[in-house]
Symmetry: C2
Subunit: 427 residues, 2 copies
């Protein structure tokens, strides 16, 4: 099948999936979990071949260690995966939830209900564990799914895909979860804006950027995470040090790690050296904006909007909360921004004024995450302003439909004065 | 200013607007309404020049009558406009509404709140009355706005824009509502996917299609409205005739008008001739699908997915509700689909199974409209599945932000076992 044929078949299969009731869709998921459990040997054997090839590729300099690190599927990862599929089956039913309901007039009842989007395309690198998680989310939410994995995980992905689709029959066509292979297929897939509704890239910023630039299909994700912590004039010193360290060092490669530290200039003398020492003590390279560099003897930061993605950050002085917000709007990526302060007015100004997916007060930027937010399974984190923003759970895989039930109601009758609109909200 | 400079200024002005409280934003709207009221002469004089030029252009064959018909701004239209602006001021506050709230752990409180999207671009043809309505919606929802009107309404749009921006000072920068002129500007605007968040085209299907094909910015709207009425085996004959007539003839040029009539083959003999006669009696040209054409002696429809947009439609026979749904999915545009039946099971199957923005049972397709749905001011009707679907009210101009309030909470403390996530929903 061509990618287009796979996408068209995925839409039809998704529609079949949507007609199953909640119990039936959950039963399919539990079968998938059981099948994964029963096929550990097959999956692990396929994965071992990918891992072995990756080791050679790393040694030859053809693959990064980071990519290779995300390949293995040890037993404990399979355990977590299988548990994850069961947890997704146990979540509240996502489809058909009433968003709003309203009587338009006597006997004319309107409901807006949640519905599957249609066809999702997931493009992922390495991490074959993404495949069953995403497949489970798609099955739960009635979406047809196209999976395009990386070459480095070909055998792992094929094995996982074979096991999952083997558990779908008889209710769900195998086309509901479709694996697309070959590098050339990506370009073809990204051109299918008439049959694919949403692209979710899971991988490097470079991958996400390339996809965003190469398609008219909406993309859910973020290419960059340039997050800041602003330490206000009224910051508690201990909290500031602790939050800055956590935001930078807990997992420096994460998109929600701090890249820029903003310090109110009134605290430059007491907190500046303490923050720099604490960061350096933890192994962080601290660069400085023009003023901070000379004041604290720091190397000058080449670009204040840089995403270091490792143990480095830039420190800048700002005049006040307004200055911090202006800096964040100029250099940030709209991901997560934090203020450290004991002043409720400053906190309020920052929470109300910062235009970003996540805005935090006295909490580490590292909390910007679907699991930590309590969303259950995470689809991704979006810095877009359309559809879904910030950490996205299964809600990001849904749209709505409007259902109207009448008894022969016509607009002509309204115009003739036989009845009039009388909108009443239904709870 | 270049279009890019206008867009950047609109984002900054939008952010200023967002920091105003609800009362202040409403006060601005009421000033806009008063200014429009006080400037009727100026607006009507400018409009009269556009209308006079349009009459010449129509006579010369350089403009369609339909476009010219949407130009005039008589006093009663201005009345409605001014009332509309005041009604938008009186609507419930759209910004800062709590969508969900959850405690993540002791003292760590998460809220997802509604927020302005950022910068909207409205591209509209003729109908200068769209300008103040959209401007009022954007001001109410804290969005910066770029308006690109048609050449035929240049003087009307300039006058309306001058009056509106004159009423914004001192709190709101004039750049919050920005008029972009010149045909070349459209291409430039549609390339600004880094500063414009959403495009809303108001005009012909051709305009919407061209915009959808020409930009990576999300587009809210619909290029086509190919809606069907399916008359089921268990349809009440009188309701069927009345709903079919209303759906086709109430306003045949509307996007929610019926283009395809599907008839269950068991009702071909009793209802077929009656429906054809009723439609013809109302002046509708009835074409037929291959089977219906020969059975009822109708001209054969060239394309079953055609949007007639006037007093014509296509009649097709289908085997059952499944056949009707398959037809709708193949030929429809995902706008509005209706089933006429007294059989609750058939209604349920159709309401659950049809993949469209609006699915109706025993109600005219003409109800698919923001005003009739009770949404207040209408932004447009979307057949997309991302962000907003169906008739869209002010909610379509909103995104959300996540606010997290803590007291020095770090992820490292969770890892050290000092506290654990304990998600509790807040009402």
């Amino acid at each position: 099948m061509t990618p287009r044929e796979q996408a068209v078949a995925a839409r039809a299969a998704g529609r079949t999936l949507q007609t199953l009731d909640s119990e039936a869709r959950c039963a399919v998921l539990l079968r998938v979990a059981d099948a994964l459990d029963a096929s550990r040997q097959e999956i692990e054997a396929a994965n071992a071949l990918d891992v072995a090839d990756a080791a050679v590729a790393v040694a030859d300099g053809r693959m990064t260690q980071a990519l290779a690190d995300r390949l293995p599927l040890p037993d404990r990862k399979l355990d977590a995966l299988i548990d994850g599929v069961r947890a997704i089956a146990a979540q509240p039913e996502p489809l058909g939830r009433v968003v709003q309901a309203r009587q338009l007039g006597e006997g004319l009842e309107l409901e807006q209900v949640t519905a599957a989007i249609g066809v999702l395309l997931i493009i992922f690198e390495s991490r074959p564990d993404a495949l069953p998680q995403i497949a489970a989310l798609a099955l739960r939410s009635g979406n047809g799914l196209l999976l395009k994995g990386g070459k480095e995980a070909t055998r792992s992905n094929r094995a996982l895909h074979r096991v999952i689709t083997g558990a779908l029959a008889p209710e769900v066509p195998a086309a509901a979860v479709s694996l697309v292979e070959g590098r050339a297929a990506i370009t073809e897939l990204l051109a299918l804006d008439d049959v694919i509704d949403l692209v979710i890239p899971r991988g490097s910023g470079a991958l996400v950027s390339a996809i965003q630039q190469g398609t008219r299909i909406p993309v859910l994700g973020h290419a960059e995470g340039v997050c800041h912590v602003y330490v206000d004039a009224a910051a508690d010193a201990d909290k500031a040090v602790s939050l800055v360290l956590d935001s930078k060092t807990d997992y420096p490669a994460a998109c929600n790690a701090m890249e820029g530290l903003l310090l109110h200039r009134d605290r430059a003398s007491d907190l500046g050296p303490r923050l720099v020492d604490a960061l350096r003590g933890a192994g962080v390279t601290v660069n400085g904006g023009p003023e901070a560099a000379s004041l604290f003897g720091l190397p000058e930061a080449p670009d204040l909007g840089h995403e270091y993605g490792d143990m480095a950050c830039a420190l800048c002085l700002v005049d006040d909360v307004q200055g911090a917000m202006a800096h964040v709007h100029q250099h940030g990526s709209g991901h997560t921004e934090c203020i450290v302060t004991e002043d409720p007015a400053a906190a309020q100004a920052f929470l109300a004024g910062v235009d970003a997916a996540c805005v935090f007060h006295n909490a580490s930027t590292r909390f910007a995450d679907g699991y930590r937010f309590g969303l259950g399974a995470e689809v991704g984190i979006s810095t877009g302003r359309i559809h879904a923003r910030g950490p996205v759970g299964v809600d990001g895989l849904l749209t709505t439909r409007w259902k109207l039930r009448g008894d022969g109601h016509t607009v002509a009758a309204v115009k003739r004065g036989e009845w009039a609109f009388d909108w009443r909200e239904r709870s």
